[in-house]
Each structure stands twice: as structure tokens, then as C-alpha cells.
């Protein structure tokens, strides 16, 4: 549980950090945000960087700002600070629900939202929520900026669109219009509380009780956090109170998905748990 030797820098200027990354050989530098994933990998020696670049000293990355109907969350904003922010409390209740079930207070105190997104863990709760919130990741390589939608950013289990030399600087979330109901629900496995099936859901119900629109994403159950777009399509226009039909539609959608299979739960069990989670959550959101 002791990392290999590495050098450590903690610049205070984003440009300096960016320059270090651009100049480094791919894989030689590890960006350190809250360290809640990286430190474990270092201690287990599964990551052996030559340099750890701590971005915790860059104050510019610590801000949360509302620009019109968009919330912009800096890379060093901790999950705990995020959940306490008034705009989040007001307009993004799903993130509060995530904060209640993802990890523990100590991890959330240090862990950042962007770190969790860049980690793209198959069981990442924050990733699933940000997929449903249609968030956008802001990236920077040297002076070059670009942005990528969450759906395109998370490409697989622990795989992202982060290019060599790039740093994620912020995440932008368009604040949802009022009227949509949202929820984050999770079935934990008992070892360390990660999800074996997690569900982020946003649903708009029309006056007749039908689903006008919805966005769904799963964590833990599938190979990596993903939107359940096929199911979303089938749910539009459906009366969510119609339990048998709902169950049927969900069941049909499950058969197209590839579930994780490991010691914590079989693929079959994950399928069952995600289905039940969908049924119960959608029924709740239907009111």
C-alpha cells in the first residue's frame, strides 16, 4: 500500500498546469483532484506515474457560477460543496440525491464532481446523473478549449474522451425547466457500497398522466454508465400508471442490454434489480 516514487507539483495557475500536461509523455502525469480514486490506484501500484500534478492549488477551478440558465461547476468543486450549493438545492435535486448515496461524507468532502466524471467508473453514480442532466464537459489542452457532451465523453468502463495533455476544467449543466420530476435511486452492493444497479431518471408527465419526455441512465448494472435511450423512446406517450404495460416495456428493453457479471451480482440479478428499480422509480415519479 505504498506508491512507487513519483514527483509532485501543485501549481496555482491553470496555464502552468496545462503546460506541464502538454509537455509530458502520455501516461507520465496523473492529474490529482480529490484523490479519492487516484490515491487508491497509486497505493495499489496499478498507476505508476512519474509526476502527480495536483490541481488543488488552482483557485480558478473552485468556483460554481450560474450563467443564465446554466450552472458551471469548476473542476475542484467537491461533491460536498456542490450538494450544498443553493442553486443545486433549488434546481438540481437529483444531485442532492446522488450525494446522499454516493460514497460517504469523507469521500465527498474531498472527491470532486469532475474527478468522478473523469474516472468514469462503471458504477459511478455522478456519471449516471450527469448523463441524464445532459451535462457538457469543458476541456483544455494548453490554450485550446473544447467541449464534449457527457454522452460522448464517457465512452466505456473507465474510458473517456479525455485526450493526452487535456485537463477537464468544468462541467456545465443546463438547469432543468420546472415540471420535470427527477430521482436518483441505487441498489448498493454490501462490500463498499458501490451500486450494482443505479438509476438516474428525469420524467415529464403530461396532464393525462402520460410520459411526455424522459431521460434515463443506469450505473453499476451495465458495462459502464449509459443512457437507456431505447427505453426512453418506448416510454414517451406511455401511461406510467399502467403497471403491467410499464413492466412489459421495461422487460423488453432489458433484453437489449449487456449487464456486468461479477462476484457482487450476476448479470441476471443486475437485470432484475435494474428492472425493479425502473418500475418503482417511474411509478413514484408518475405520482
Amino acid at each position: 500500500m505504498i506508491p512507487v516514487d513519483f514527483d509532485y507539483v501543485r501549481p496555482t495557475d491553470l496555464a502552468v498546469a496545462g503546460a506541464i500536461l502538454v509537455e509530458a509523455a502520455p501516461g507520465a502525469v496523473a492529474v490529482l483532484a480529490g484523490g479519492q480514486s487516484l490515491m487508491t490506484e497509486l497505493k495499489l501500484r496499478t498507476r505508476r506515474p512519474q509526476l502527480v500534478l495536483d490541481i488543488g492549488g488552482i483557485d480558478a477551478l473552485r468556483t460554481i457560477e450560474q450563467v443564465g440558465d446554466t450552472l458551471r461547476i469548476g473542476a475542484m468543486v467537491s461533491q460536498a460543496d456542490l450538494a450544498r450549493h443553493p442553486v443545486v438545492q433549488d434546481r438540481l435535486p437529483m444531485l442532492i440525491e446522488v450525494a446522499a448515496v454516493a460514497a460517504d461524507p469523507m469521500v465527498r468532502r474531498r472527491g470532486t464532481l469532475l474527478g468522478a466524471i473523469c474516472q468514469a467508473d462503471p458504477t459511478g453514480d455522478w456519471v449516471a446523473a450527469c448523463l441524464v442532466l445532459d451535462a457538457v464537459v469543458e476541456l483544455r489542452r494548453g490554450d485550446v478549449l473544447r467541449e464534449v457532451a457527457m454522452q460522448d465523453f464517457v465512452t466505456g468502463a473507465r474510458e473517456t474522451g479525455l485526450q493526452p495533455g487535456e485537463i477537464a476544467t468544468a462541467l456545465r449543466i443546463a438547469l432543468p425547466v420546472t415540471g420535470a420530476g427527477s430521482a436518483y435511486r441505487k441498489v448498493r452492493h454490501t462490500a463498499i457500497g458501490w451500486s450494482i444497479a443505479g438509476l438516474a431518471a428525469m420524467v415529464e408527465i403530461d396532464p393525462s398522466g402520460r410520459c411526455a419526455d424522459c431521460r434515463l441512465a443506469a450505473s453499476g448494472a451495465l458495462t459502464h454508465p449509459q443512457r437507456l435511450t431505447a427505453l426512453e423512446d418506448r416510454l414517451r406517450g406511455l401511461a406510467l400508471h399502467d403497471t403491467p404495460t410499464l413492466a412489459q416495456v421495461i422487460g423488453a428493453a432489458m433484453s437489449d442490454l449487456v449487464f456486468q457479471d461479477d462476484r457482487h451480482a450476476s448479470a441476471e440479478h443486475r437485470g432484475v434489480r435494474l428492472s425493479v428499480l425502473l418500475q418503482r422509480t417511474l411509478a413514484d415519479l408518475a405520482g
Partner: protein, 790 residues
């Protein structure tokens, strides 16, 4: 096991402090992060050891090259088995007669027999350097087929873990006979199979050793997180051929033990040898990874049960055939825990006339299994309580009634089971009744009926338990091959200033002896509680003792304190009577001041203490000082017992089991400190609930234990409804029985019985722990498929 031993007369007087829920004296230190554990001890010229361990569970070592590691930065030296050729295998401390003993090698020689077995050790100036150098060790393994499961290891033609043995059997332990005859004419005969899964113990503080040889004095100080400092000294001295009086074991604060920290390990002997070779202190602190594969595991039985009963639930006979996985080697108590500690206890609190048990210890390619909270008795409780539960369900009887029908009756106490185990005292019916009332059992049963009609699955699970605590009598330990004393030591010293030191051979690893033993001594001595300091865990300081296990510390260690303190108190009164020229009977000590009942003379304890320790004015026949030592050797053990009830709801869609309520009523005899007793029950319940619902070493086909065993956390625990009944034990001067293991015994059967009670109507007949949602759903599906086929 039936010996004519006379119990001593019980002193019923309960003092002022005994029975009070006094917060622990040691908590301030612990809660402010100032506990001092082995890893906190950093000695001058400290070296650090790191073990190189096998990634295979079964393999031949083809070659091992330490030369690159030896030249790595900071490395002092590196050692393999060849470099420590003088060391033999680690001898177990309990060898059940007839066992084929294969002890753990200090470092693997040619063969690897379990995952994580150490093949080399690197010693460096810093731990980081030792870990870096380990990557330069070149080991070539030839992996062999892995036998991790005891049933597979017993299959005909199975490869042998130790090729010089005829098969993989370590011990065969048969007890009793006559099942077939007694079972004739029974209304019900059922056979079923249980698995008591393997668990990985997880003390907060892992094992840790700092071995410090002083070349000038020839003394070796061995700091070790351990439960039995004196026994460790004896075992270590014998293993390395070291004079025992020059070997000092210091066990400072110990962060939990649960059994594994009373065993004797390869790392212990290796470090003791290395410090002598290198003439510098060498430290090793276990990582969690090492904890998982190098520290002993617990449980792991596969048990076949046959039971014969009358239609009223009266059990006529029981037959048990269990395969116990003892791992690759016999650890310290590895042959005794799965045999003696299971077989003799399978009758619980029930008067069952005929029992036939065969337990077979089986070698496999797994980490050695040894005592873990309850040490065999949880397995026994699980067997009998699941059996009673099964009989009740099969016969459609109430689980409480079947227990009442079978209880040893009040007028049968003290009672001796056909297996030889004694029950000293208890109120089994009243204890169960109290649990039923607390759980609103009748109301729950009514609710259960209604819920079933609504398609909801509620279940009530009952379990009683008992075991023997306060080991024990040398006369019994010898014949079963248990090579340790059953006594405990205490030294009580009243200093010239009236303050008191209590030295105890027991050793707290979280139990709070500093508080409870002070309560016991304060009551005897009549001095303020805060003036008493209890010291343990240093073999140079404490009179020869045994240590803490088997919930024995209060009943044996506490009794020693009580007796020694009482002798000092008597001497104090005699001296006070002399000094105040009063009658002995008229002398009382209260809050540090002696008075006479007749006159108004007073004497401070300081005046008395000074006299006693100078001898001035003291009659010669009273002798010098105020100090007594007691080696208390019990005449009999006690049988704590209790009744537990779990009320659960099973979610038929998800398989989740919600523990709605958990009730535990305990009879541990006289309770010295209810706050600490409750803490022990809660901790035990957490482990028992963990075993029932979550935990499993889950060794895979390659012999790898799970990397992140699901140990329960506080947010996974229900509110625990705990209460006591008190039947003082007649077998020790305190009337205490033992409480440390209660929860681990009661919870697994109570919860599994509850789940089966809920699922029985669906056709589910058996469920193995842990009751994961996936398993529950699979059982429901299998039962449904079975019903549809029928």
C-alpha cells in the same frame, strides 16, 4: 468430560460499583486518537520488514532469487526459507488427539499451499524501500490444481495437500452414538444440509509486530498486537529456542482481536529471528491484503443434519456429519475449534437424549481456519437452532413452542449433556418469554397472516444459544490436547499513598478491562474507583497469566482480581484495627478513610499505606506491604445463554431482507458494567448479522479470497433491542458468565430462521448464508419451478 469438581461458594454480595454503567476510563485516550498501538512504536535504528507472498494458492516454487532485491536501495537483507533453515513449522497449541499435524512453515519451503503464503521477507531502512525491493524478487512458480473446498478435498482420488499423508483428513472427531435406534418410531425424520460459510476476521488494527533484540543484555522485547501475551512468550521462546525469562512480550493497546490475535503466526517467529540476526529492531504491520490471506479465517463447515422428532416437536435424536475446512495447515487452535468446540455444543439448551456427531477436519488450499468470535460455538448454535426451526416448520408448530418442549427443565439444572458439556444455571423459559414479549411476537404472528394474504412475506426467527465460558480447568484441557493453562492471574497493590495498581494476566483488546476490573477491585477495597489503575500486556510486569479469549476475562480474570483485592482488603482492615486499637469487625473503609463503628477514631488510607510499606508499627505477623497475587484456577465453567428474535420482511421482487426488529435477551449472570456488556452484545450482533446477511470469504476456484469482503457498517445495522435476565453463575466468585460472543452465536440462526419462516409457504426449504438478495431470489425461483413441476 464428566469430572467431579466442587464449585466454590458463591459470594452473593454485590458491591456499589458492580452493576453500574460506568463509561470506559480508556475512551478519552482512544477517542482523541491517543491510543498507543504497536505500529505507533518507533524504536531507534528501526528496520522494516515486508513479506513477499504467493499469488497462487497451490504451486511449486521452481526458483527464488533474492539477489536483485538485496542490492536495492535501502535494503539491509532479504531472506527465504533456505536462510532460516533452523526454524521448524509453527506448532499448534491445541492438538486434538489423533490429529495429523501440519503446522505453518515460517516461510514456504518448496510448496505453496494457500494464497498469500510468504516466500521471502525483505528488511529495509524504510517500509517504502522494502516494498520497492519486493518488486525485484524473482520467483518462478509452477501452479498446481487448487483444492479450496472441503467436499472436493474429500472426494475419492482427490490430490493430497500434504503428499506424505494418506488423504486430506487432519482430524476425525466422533462423539456419541445410537441415532438409528432412538430415531425409530419418530413421527418426523428430516435430513438437510447447511453451510456455515468461511469468514475473514477484520480487527480495526491489523496484526503488528516490532521485535527488538538487545545484544548487550541478550534480551528480546517483542511488541505484538496480541490477546495472550504470556502464552505468546512461551510459544515464541519454544519456537526460536530463546530463554523465556529474557523474552519480554509487550502488547500495548490492541485494536480488536476477535480470536485471530490469539494465534501464533509465521511472521512472529520470522521477526524474532531477524532482529537477532540484524541486531536492530524490525517492524511489520499487516496490510489489509495480508489480513485477508495470511491471518486466520473463521467457520467454514459443510454440515449434514438428520433429526428425528415426535409430532409435538420433541426431538428424539440428532445426527450430524460435518466437514470442517481447516485450510492448508493446522493453526494454533485449528484442530480443536471445529471439533471439540462444535461437537460438544450441538445440543444447545435442549434435553435431547441421543446425539451422534462426526466432524472431519479437512486440509485444503486455503488460509488456515482458527478461532473467530465464538470459536466453533456459533457453528454449533447454527446447527441446533436451524434444526429446531426446521422441525417447527415441518410440523407446522410454533417455533417458540418447539423450543419450550425441548428445553432442559429448570429442575434439571445443573445439567450435563450426553456430550459432556455442563449447563450451570439459567431460566431458559423466562428468557425466551421476555424476548417474545419484547418483540411483540403474538402481534407479529397476526400481522404475518394478514401480510401473507396481501402477498407480503414476513418472517419471525428465533434462536437461543449457550456455550461454555471461562475456560477453564486444567483437568479438562489436558485430555483434549489444549496446551495452555485455564487460570488467570491478578496482582493487587495498594501503594503508600492509597492508590491502587491492579496487574492482570487477561488482556483487553477493546473490552474495557481497565474499567470493569477497577470496578471489581474498588468494591473489594473500598477505595475510590478513580484511584485504581489496571495494567496488562507486559510479561515483565504482570504475573504469569493466560490472556483474553472465550469470554473468560471477567469470570476468570475478574475473579482473580476480586480474590486478590479481598485479601488485600482483609489485611488493610487487620492493620487498621491494630492501628486504631479497635475490633476487626468494627473497622470500615469508606472513600479512603477508615473508621470504627464504636468510637470516632479515623485513619487515612495514606497513614495505613505508609505503615504497611515501612513496617513501622506493624506487627511482624502481618508482614510488609499491601499486595496480593492470585492465580485463580476455575473449578467449573459457566454457560451464558440467551434468546434472540429477528423479525424480517423479504421483498419478493428484489430478494432484499429487511431486518425490521432484532431482540436479544441475555443471561450472562452478574453484569459488572451493563454499558460495556451492551457494547459486547452489539459488536457480536454486528458480526452475526454480517455473517447472516452479507459476509463471505468467497474463495474462488483459484483459491483467492475475496478482496473486499462485505463487512457490515453501522448504517447497515438495525436498532438492537437488548436486555438482560440475571441468573448468577454458581461457578465463580463474581457470579459472572461471559458475554463477548453472544451476538455472533445468536444472530445467524435467528435471521436465517426468520427468512425461512417468511419463505416456507413459497416452498423454500433451505437457504445458505449470506442471504444475499441474489440467493433469495434464486431460492424463490427454484421453489416456484419445483411447485410448477409437481
Amino acid at each position: 468430560m464428566n469430572l467431579p469438581i466442587k464449585p466454590p461458594k458463591l459470594d452473593q454480595a454485590v458491591g456499589r460499583l458492580t452493576g453500574q454503567a460506568i463509561p470506559r476510563l480508556e475512551d478519552r485516550r482512544f477517542l482523541t486518537g491517543r491510543g498507543r498501538y504497536v505500529d505507533d512504536i518507533v524504536l531507534a535504528r528501526q528496520l522494516h520488514a515486508h513479506f513477499v507472498r504467493s499469488p497462487h494458492a497451490h504451486a511449486r516454487i521452481v526458483s527464488l532469487d533474492l539477489s536483485l532485491a538485496r542490492t536495492a536501495k535501502g535494503v539491509v537483507d532479504a531472506f527465504s526459507a533456505a536462510d532460516l533453515a533452523e526454524l521448524g513449522d509453527i506448532a499448534p497449541n491445541w492438538v486434538v488427539p489423533g490429529s495429523k499435524v501440519k503446522g505453518r512453515p515460517p516461510l514456504a519451503r518448496a510448496m505453496i499451499r494457500h494464497h498469500g503464503e510468504a516466500v521471502a521477507v525483505i528488511v529495509a531502512e524504510s517500509l517504502a524501500e522494502a516494498v520497492d525491493a519486493a518488486e525485484r524478487v524473482e520467483v518462478v512458480y509452477e501452479p498446481l490444481a487448487v483444492l479450496a473446498d472441503q467436499e472436493a478435498a474429500m472426494a475419492p482420488g482427490a490430490p493430497r495437500i500434504h503428499p506424505d499423508l494418506a488423504d486430506n483428513v487432519a482430524t476425525r472427531f466422533p462423539v456419541g452414538k445410537g441415532f438409528d435406534e432412538a430415531a425409530q418410531g419418530a413421527d418426523l425424520r428430516v435430513a438437510f444440509k447447511l453451510r456455515n460459510q468461511r469468514l475473514v476476521p477484520f480487527p480495526m488494527e491489523p496484526r503488528a509486530v516490532n521485535a527488538d533484540f538487545d545484544d548487550a543484555t541478550g534480551r528480546l522485547t517483542f511488541y505484538c498486537a496480541h490477546q495472550l501475551p504470556h502464552l505468546l512468550r512461551r510459544m515464541l521462546a519454544a519456537a526460536i529456542g530463546f530463554p523465556e525469562q529474557k523474552l519480554r512480550v509487550i502488547s500495548p493497546d490492541v485494536g480488536g482481536g476477535f480470536g485471530p490475535k490469539m494465534h501464533f503466526y509465521p511472521e512472529d517467529v520470522v521477526l524474532a529471528v531477524l532482529t537477532q540476526r540484524l541486531k536492530r529492531p524490525v517492524k511489520w504491520t499487516e496490510t489489509r491484503g495480508e489480513n485477508i490471506s495470511a491471518t486466520t479465517h473463521g467457520r467454514d463447515h459443510v454440515t449434514h443434519i438428520e433429526v428425528a422428532a415426535r409430532s409435538d416437536g420433541k426431538i428424539l435424536a440428532l445426527r450430524i456429519n460435518s466437514l470442517a475446512n481447516v485450510g492448508a495447515y493446522l493453526s494454533s487452535m485449528g484442530s480443536g475449534v471445529p471439533t471439540v468446540n462444535v461437537a460438544l455444543f450441538v445440543l444447545g439448551l435442549y434435553a435431547i437424549g441421543h446425539v451422534e456427531v462426526l466432524i472431519t477436519n479437512v486440509y485444503t488450499n486455503t488460509t488456515p481456519v482458527d478461532a473467530y468470535r465464538g470459536a466453533g460455538r456459533p457453528e454449533a448454535a447454527y446447527i441446533i437452532e436451524r434444526t429446531i426451526g426446521r422441525v417447527a416448520l415441518e410440523l407446522g408448530l410454533d417455533a417458540a413452542d418447539v423450543r419450550r418442549t425441548n428445553f432442559v427443565a429448570a429442575d434439571q439444572l445443573p445439567y450435563r449433556h450426553p456430550t459432556g458439556i455442563g449447563l450451570d444455571s439459567g431460566q431458559y423459559e423466562a428468557t425466551l418469554a421476555k424476548a417474545l414479549e419484547q418483540a411483540d411476537y403474538e402481534a407479529f404472528r397476526a400481522e404475518q397472516v394478514v401480510a401473507r394474504q396481501e402477498g407480503r412475506l414476513l418472517g419471525a426467527g428465533l434462536a437461543t444459544y449457550t456455550h461454555s465460558c471461562g475456560v477453564g480447568m486444567a483437568e479438562l484441557m489436558g485430555p483434549i490436547g489444549f496446551d495452555r493453562g485455564g487460570f488467570e492471574s491478578a496482582l493487587v497493590r495498594v501503594h503508600p499513598d492509597g492508590r491502587v495498581t491492579v496487574l492482570s494476566g487477561a488482556h483487553s483488546h477493546g473490552q474495557g478491562h481497565a474499567t470493569t476490573f477497577a470496578q471489581i477491585a474498588a468494591d473489594e477495597l473500598g477505595v475510590p474507583f478513580e484511584h485504581i489503575e489496571v495494567l496488562q500486556g507486559d510479561t515483565d510486569l504482570v504475573p504469569m497469566g493466560v490472556g483474553t479469549f472465550n469470554s473468560r476475562s471477567v469470570s476468570v480474570g475478574g475473579s482473580a482480581v476480586k480474590i486478590a483485592a479481598a485479601r488485600v482488603a482483609t489485611k488493610m482492615r487487620k492493620l487498621a484495627a491494630h492501628m486504631m486499637q479497635a475490633d476487626l469487625e468494627g473497622v470500615v473503609l469508606e472513600a479512603g478513610l477508615f473508621r470504627t463503628t464504636g468510637g470516632n477514631a479515623t485513619l487515612t488510607i495514606q497513614e495505613l499505606g505508609r505503615a504497611a510499606w515501612t513496617g513501622q508499627g506493624v506487627p511482624r505477623d502481618l508482614g510488609i506491604g499491601l499486595e496480593e497475587t492470585e492465580f485463580y484456577h476455575p473449578h467449573a465453567m459457566s454457560a451464558p445463554n440467551g434468546a434472540h428474535i429477528a423479525l424480517v420482511e423479504v421483498d419478493i421482487e428484489t430478494g432484499e431482507i429487511a431486518l425490521r426488529r432484532y431482540v436479544a435477551i441475555e443471561d450472562c449472570g452478574v453484569v459488572i458494567n451493563p454499558l460495556l456488556a451492551r457494547g459486547q452484545i452489539q459488536g457480536g450482533l454486528a458480526q452475526g448479522i454480517g455473517q447472516a446477511l452479507y459476509e463471505d470469504a468467497a474463495i474462488d476456484a483459484e483459491g483467492m479470497p475475496v478482496a473486499d469482503p462485505p463487512i457490515p457498517r453501522s448504517d447497515m445495522m438495525p436498532w438492537m433491542e437488548i436486555d438482560f435476565v440475571c441468573t448468577p453463575s454458581p461457578n465463580n466468585p463474581l457470579g459472572a458468565k461471559g458475554i463477548g460472543e453472544a451476538g455472533a452465536l445468536g444472530a445467524p440462526p435467528a435471521i436465517v430462521n426468520a427468512a425461512l419462516d417468511a419463505l416456507w409457504p413459497l416452498g423454500v426449504r433451505e437457504l445458505d448464508m449470506p442471504l444475499t438478495p441474489q440467493r433469495v431470489l434464486a431460492a424463490i425461483a427454484a421453489a416456484t419451478a419445483g411447485r410448477e413441476r409437481a
